[in-house]
């Protein structure tokens, strides 16, 4: 609903300035700090990563065991949820 609101109003109010909110598209590594990538087991361990749900970054790891939970905290990721099949949610909060 936020998206819809924003789109409708931005268009109405600043027709020549603002366009749709950028869509979230998977991009490997860009958007993740190098320390975070390292804590996740390095670039080679990343199958995919994408921002989701406004507050999270969803990463798929080839090998979940190579992730260093401690190092993620040190790298400034406030919360981490480990899910099935090597899927990990980095909870970054509203930015």
């Amino acid at each position: 609903m936020f998206e819809k609101m924003q789109r409708a109003f931005w268009k109405a109010l600043t027709p020549d300035l603002v366009v749709d909110e950028p869509q979230v598209v998977a991009q490997v590594v860009s958007g993740l700090a190098p320390e975070v990538v390292a804590a996740l087991g390095g670039v080679d361990n990343l199958k995919s990563q994408q921002p989701v749900a406004l507050t999270r970054v969803r990463v798929e790891l080839r090998d979940g065991a190579r992730m260093d939970r401690q190092a993620l905290t040190v790298a400034g990721v406030p919360g981490v949820m480990m899910l099935d099949d090597g899927v990990v949610h980095l909870i970054t909060g509203l930015t």
Binding site: M1, F2, E3, K4, M5, Q6, A8, F9, W10, K11, A12, L13, T14, P15, D16, L17, V18, V19, D20, E21, P22, Q23, V24, V25, Q27, S30, G31, P51, V52, A53, L54, T55, R56, R58, P78, G79, M81, L83, D84, V87, H89, L94, T95
Partner: protein
């Protein structure tokens, strides 16, 4: 429990009720990803799991996992979360504090509500938890029903949560209203409590004095200052607009009756909005109502209301709770645009609520010559206005994108935003002079001032006719120097209009317009044909300056995904973004180059800071031109809008063909002030001597290398700036299309030698106000007198 299993509400024996809603827009998942662990009506225990959900599925398929908890019955609560804000699954979040006086049900109001004087909050963080608790506690001591009002919003003063949800801030103006036997006493005590900080240490003696001094100050003050939202001036009488507070019963009849009630209200509101859309003057207003209509169909909002109806609430109560809580959420997200949209949500909320309650809006009886004054005008308030009787608007809130600004411009009425809150204390019927050009509301205008205004208006009309009649005449100063006056455009239609109004070319084509409303990049052919059409409309004798894609975090583009930035104005914008995605820039260059020869083609790069950016872009351009077999490159220039580029103009000049100064961004970067900031907007003025000095040195550097300099920011559309910019040596003024005749006329009025003198003089002044004043005096002394002599 919601059928789709993503929301649940719990009620205890004493009627305390808490609603939990997992994620945003999760209703669209229709139950997928959620597993219900309890049944409807089941007794549950502390710590018992209620719903299990597949985090990954929801994260991938719904808007967000942000989860709302709402204490529907309004009891105070205490946070149990650690200061870090991080919690674990199963950890208690808050504890509800039972209230002794549990009769939270709305007491029907007895008699009319009494209002306190407006109070300016002295608490450094507004009424946050502690002072809010003190205030609510004090309010509970009275039997009257009491509300705390802030702008159009209000909160039950006996509910801590409601007060906190108002999100009051330091310096904000609030009012207390009460209805019931001890209303007067409640008002006195509570207003006093607010003044003294509700138990929080504020410099209370000082605050008292300040507040007591206020009414007197308002009387002795003769001028209130704000920001011009729509130019012009008017003399008329004050009419204060306030939004009425509606009373609703909390509990409904049956779920079916209330659901019908709500859908009827929504349908009627939708119909009314459709009507307003069709009758709207100008597309800006119509778009607002269209957006309001969309809101009525918003699944999240409807669902929230239905959840409450299912719990036995009335349609009105459910709808109000749904809209208000969402509006609060919008405000808390820390996005200025979204926060402003919360006002729209309240507006729609109020419209539907009135229909549910069967309250018909009476067309407000306005006296002749009304100057409408409000905290902030909502679209609904303004739509029904008899605009024949309205002469102007003056509001406390609002900025460049506020409704009042859009509306006033659509009607051609003067308007001022950002006035001090004192304006709300002016009595209805007070005679005032609204001088939007100066951003002033004069409270005690004398007859001479009014006569002056009338004469000015008559002269303005004459001048406009004269300007339009001479639009096609070249813009040459009295001593014979030609200045190129061109247009800022964003479409083919504007290009044609610009030529018709005497535009000598296009000084700024905002190429972003090609890319609006897209989820994918426009094809090469599509881009190429648009550029060619515009170039053809201008012809080979006129300049066409195409600015390459100027987007970034502040104006995102759908198919150019970007990470969100904490400070988009200082982030990947303009050329920075294009060089990150060079293919985008190459494609655009190729499309622009296909119009070579049809007009005098110029390409301009936005937001250039480093020489390397210019060199890299030039290399890409040369490669594309070579690939197309072009022997002659189009002219390549840069925008001067980052102070770094202005300061290093002498190094940029040898490598460009021209500069164009974007005064809007140059001003906000030089003064470090957001031009849409409600408090700073009036100071973020391009006439500030620091900005003028940057313009002066840029021109000097360009001319030393034989390059020309244009100005394409808003400053070039201000007639007052014309002698100044000419005097600083600017060669081209690119104005917004409708103002081209006025700018050309302003050029023809001045003498370049005079302009140089005044420009040198103002460079040494202290502030933008001083510069504007000096230019006004100069205008009166030179132009006005010479016109009198000629007649």
């Amino acid at each position: 429990m919601q059928a789709s299993g993503h929301a649940i509400s719990i009620t205890d024996e004493n009627g305390v009720q808490v609603l939990m809603h997992i994620g945003l827009d999760t209703v669209n998942l229709a139950g997928k990803g959620f597993t219900r662990l309890v049944e409807e009506g089941q007794q549950v225990d502390v710590g018992q799991a209620l719903i299990e959900f597949d985090v990954d599925f929801v994260a991938l398929n719904a808007r967000s996992l942000l989860t709302l908890m709402l204490v529907v019955s309004g009891e105070p609560f205490t946070w149990l979360t650690p200061p870090s804000g991080l919690v674990d699954s199963g950890q208690p979040l808050l504890s509800l504090n039972p209230v002794e006086q549990t009769s939270q049900k709305l007491v029907p109001e007895e008699g009319d509500a009494v209002f306190s004087q407006p109070v300016t909050l002295a608490n450094p963080n507004g009424l946050h938890a502690r002072p809010a608790a003190v205030f609510a506690q004090a309010a509970k001591g009275f039997s009257a029903s009491i509300y705390l009002h802030k702008k159009q919003e209000s909160a039950n003063a006996k509910s801590l949560v409601a007060i906190m949800a108002l999100q009051t801030a330091h310096g904000e103006v609030v009012q207390v209203s009460a209805a019931g036997p001890d209303a007067e006493a409640a008002i006195t005590v509570l207003a006093d409590l607010l003044l003294t900080g509700c138990g929080e240490a504020v410099a209370s003696a000082q605050v008292q004095a300040e507040v007591q001094a206020k009414p007197m100050e308002a009387q002795s003050l003769t001028v209130l200052r704000g920001v011009c939202a729509s130019p012009g001036s008017a003399f008329g009488q004050v009419v204060q607009l306030t939004e009425q507070k509606l009373e609703v019963n909390e509990f409904g009849v049956t779920q079916q009756v209330e659901r019908d009630h709500l859908s009827r209200g929504l349908a009627e509101a939708s119909q009314a909005l459709q009507q307003l859309c069709e009758n709207a003057k100008g597309s800006g207003q119509a778009d607002i109502f269209k957006a309001h209509q969309e809101l009525l169909e918003d699944p999240g909002l409807l669902e929230a209301a239905h959840v409450l109806i299912d719990e036995g609430k009335s349609a009105g109560f459910a709808w109000r709770a749904a809209t208000e809580s969402t509006a609060t959420l919008f405000k808390s997200l820390g996005n200025a645009l979204l926060a402003e949209r919360a006002a729209d949500l309240s507006d729609v909320g109020q419209r539907v609520l009135k229909l549910i309650l069967g309250i018909r809006d009476q067309a407000m009886e306005l006296p002749e010559g009304a100057i409408l004054i409000a905290e902030q005008l909502t679209p609904s308030q303004t739509a029904g206005l008899d605009t024949c009787k309205v002469l102007g608007f003056a509001t406390v809130g609002g900025g460049a994108t506020s409704h009042v600004a859009i509306l006033a411009r659509a009607f051609g009425l003067p308007a001022i935003c950002g006035l001090p809150a004192q304006v709300l204390t002016l009595a209805n019927g007070t005679q005032v002079l609204l001088d939007a050009d100066k951003g002033e509301l004069q409270l005690d205008p004398d007859l001479a001032a009014i006569e002056q205004l009338r004469t000015r208006r008559r002269l303005e009309r004459q001048r406009q006719q004269h300007e339009l009649a001479h639009a096609s005449v070249a813009a040459c100063t009295r001593d014979g120097h030609h200045v190129e006056v061109t247009a800022n455009i964003a479409s083919l239609a504007e290009a044609e209009q610009a030529v018709a109004l005497g535009g000598e070319g296009v000084g700024l084509l905002r190429s972003e317009f090609l890319y609006l409303d897209r989820n994918h990049a426009p094809s090469h052919d599509e881009q190429a044909s648009t550029y060619s059409d515009i170039a053809k409309a201008l012809g080979p004798a006129r300049n066409l300056v195409v600015r390459t894609l100027d987007v970034g975090g502040d104006k995102p583009l759908a198919y150019v995904p970007m990470d969100s930035e904490t400070n988009p104005f200082l982030g990947l914008r303009g050329i920075r973004l294009c060089l990150e995605r060079p293919q985008l820039l190459r494609d655009q260059f190729r499309a622009i180059l296909s119009s070579a020869g049809l007009a005098r083609l110029h390409i301009m790069l936005p937001m250039v800071t480093q020489l390397s950016e210019l060199r890299l872009a030039r290399q890409l351009l040369e490669e594309e031109a070579l690939a197309l077999g072009l022997t002659q490159l189009p002219k390549l220039g840069i925008m001067i809008e980052v102070p770094a580029a202005a300061l290093m103009a002498d190094l940029f000049a040898p490598e460009v063909d021209f500069f164009s100064i974007g005064t809007n961004d140059l001003t906000q970067y030089t003064l470090a002030m957001d031009r849409d900031h409600p408090r700073l907007a009036s100071q973020a003025d391009s006439f500030h001597p620091s900005v003028l000095r940057l313009i002066a040195s840029t021109v000097k550097a360009a001319h030393a290398h034989g390059k020309w300099v244009g100005v394409c920011g808003a400053m070039a559309s201000e007639t007052l700036a014309v002698p100044l910019l000419l005097g600083l040596g600017v060669d081209e003024l690119s104005a917004s299309v409708p103002l081209i005749p006025a700018i050309k006329a302003a050029v023809r009025e001045v003498d370049l030698a005079d302009c140089r003198a005044i420009a040198q003089q103002v460079l040494g002044l202290e502030s933008a106000e001083q510069v504007r004043e000096a230019l006004r005096l100069h205008h009166e002394a030179t132009v006005d007198t010479s016109r009198v002599l000629e007649n």
